[in-house]
């Protein structure tokens, strides 16, 4: 097994594992904001790792066009994924969705739980 396959495989598997972590966090975390955090933050690096893993073999096979297309996809996802998370969080905040907290901040008293 040559090293290109190994590097590519490690990157793709690492990205897939990060995606699994993000999915697990989306399922298990308590409220919308933390779930959004888990989904969006892990997605950024996972996208990079999977696409880099796909780009490495095509780069070493001399397939420049495929590599450039993958870079375009990566840039597009890096722009749009945070915007999607922002929009969901923004809409939730203006729909008066409260974050789940250990102590209640809405009283103004600062009751420590």
């Amino acid at each position: 097994m040559d090293w290109v396959t190994i590097v590519s495989g490690v990157l793709v598997i690492g990205g897939a594992m990060l995606t699994v972590v993000g999915a697990y966090g989306t399922l298990r975390l308590p409220d919308l904001y933390t779930r959004l955090h888990a989904a969006s933050v892990t997605d950024t690096l996972a996208t990079f790792m999977i696409l880099a893993g796909l780009a490495v073999p095509s780069l070493f096979a001399g397939e420049w066009l495929i590599t450039v297309k993958l870079v375009f996809i990566l840039i597009f996802l890096w722009f749009t994924s945070p915007i999607a998370s922002y929009s969901v969080g923004h809409a939730a905040f203006f729909a008066a969705q409260k974050p789940k907290l250990d102590h209640d901040l809405t009283d103004g008293e600062g009751d420590a739980a």
Binding site: F79, T80, I83, Y86, F94
Partner: protein, 170 residues
């Protein structure tokens, strides 16, 4: 209206590339994945994103509903027109091979390109029309709700009211 600053900036950056990618999918459909349907939906998605960010009225200023309904018919006309043209040139309906008198393969390339262009035009126009209609309904509903409690805003909204009213109930 809340100022959506971040999506606004990103939409301004991305919409040209979305439209360009729609055209790429359209005209690269002969050689790779793509074609008229996908390209039309991508192109319409760019316009719909513009309407979501900058408002329905401004989107209607960019691509007017009248133009869109013309494009719906024009795309279908291009599709059927190629079929009729092949009939007149002596082939079957949509037999592209007769479009080029020297090489049938060239005629097939040309025919599928024109056909897909018509399909893409119709699909994009229909998607935009559906979006305009649904978003316009929301605007009419809001105008009816705010009819009795807010007269000043009603006067402001009435500038483009007749257009929405005329197109709404269809």
């Amino acid at each position: 209206m809340i100022e959506h600053l971040v999506p606004r900036v990103l939409a301004k950056l991305l919409i040209p590339f979305i439209l360009l990618f729609g055209l790429y999918v359209q005209f690269h459909g002969d050689f790779g994945p793509g074609g008229g349907f996908q390209a039309g939906v991508i192109f319409a998605a760019g316009i719909i994103l513009y309407a979501l960010i900058y408002g329905l009225d401004q989107a209607r200023g960019v691509i007017s509903p009248g133009l869109v309904s013309v494009l719906v018919a024009l795309g279908l006309l291009i599709y059927a027109g190629v079929g009729v043209a092949t009939l007149l040139l002596g082939g079957e309906f949509l037999n592209y091979g007769v479009l080029d008198s020297h090489d049938p393969v060239h005629g097939q390339h040309l025919g599928i390109l024109i056909i897909e262009f018509g399909v893409g035009m119709t699909v994009a126009a229909v998607m935009i029309t559906i979006f305009y209609q649904f978003a316009g309904r929301l605007k009419i509903t809001r105008e009816l709700e705010s009819d009795d409690d807010d007269e000043d805003e009603q006067a402001d909204d009435h500038a483009d009211g007749p257009v929405a009213d005329a197109r709404g109930p269809r």
